[in-house]
Symmetry: C2
Subunit: 151 residues, 2 copies
């Protein structure tokens, strides 16, 4: 916690680029919440806190922050990309309710086995896996049953 900034500073200087207050504001804001985020939402959160960071800067920095492995894309929905921070968070996948949007994060060791098998079988050097499981959560099923929907 709090170490993201140090990590990013070292990443940025290794690349011969410059660190800026804007970049740190963006990263701090991303890590100030556990939730997944999108650009517009992040921009609004920053503005609400008095930051003067522009959307352009957010868009320009996201690829860099991804390259530093602090965040990653998770899914594209409602016409725009959604992200999550991963540093200090541990690898995980998502179980999502298609109706209410609830997201449950889970880790399954068998996925690493599958990864290893695939790497061997197809001669790939695996970088990562992304598993999305989609369905109806318990509450949504109960509501649907009560309302008589979805037979």
């Amino acid at each position: 916690m709090g170490n993201e900034i140090a990590l990013f500073r070292s990443f940025i200087s290794k690349k011969g680029l410059r660190n800026t207050p804007e970049r740190e504001e963006i990263i701090k804001e991303i890590f100030s919440s556990h939730d997944h985020f999108d650009v517009d939402e992040l921009y609004l959160r920053l503005r609400q806190k008095g930051s003067r960071v522009s959307k352009a800067s957010i868009y320009r920095n996201i690829p860099l922050i991804m390259e530093s492995c602090l965040i990653r894309e998770v899914w594209h929905e409602d016409g725009h990309m959604h992200y999550e921070h991963i540093y200090g968070h541990g690898h995980h996948c998502h179980l999502r309710c298609i109706q209410c949007g609830k997201v449950i994060e889970f880790v399954d060791q068998d996925l690493f086995e599958i990864e290893k098998r695939l790497g061997t079988k197809y001669d790939f050097e695996i970088l990562e896996h992304r598993l999305d499981v989609i369905g109806y959560c318990s509450e949504c099923r109960q509501h649907a049953a009560a309302a008589g929907d979805r037979s």
Copy 2:
């Protein structure tokens, strides 16, 4: 093979909508190739064959064709969505080379076990899973090694 159209006709009439030549042209073109596709590419393929279908019609029909379970979204890349046809194709996931874009389709039974476990554990009714595994393919690793890249 060829049954997609029959399936779609029945789907469309069950919904009380109308079938049209444009819809059938789109579906036929989608199923005329095994590959993944995107809207622009599909539009160009149709035009090349003399079809007068508009992009608007493609965009308007894709949600319907997805609902009929003939196709699904696979990933968002290069600023737009990519799709694949799934009817008569069998469920599968993707192993993708991040460098050359090569796609290998695979099926892993353990994923269904994971699905089942998750459904029980979190009380979800699972509809589907989507696993993307990303890495470097054998050729790209060899090229990189030869060029001395990526240390």
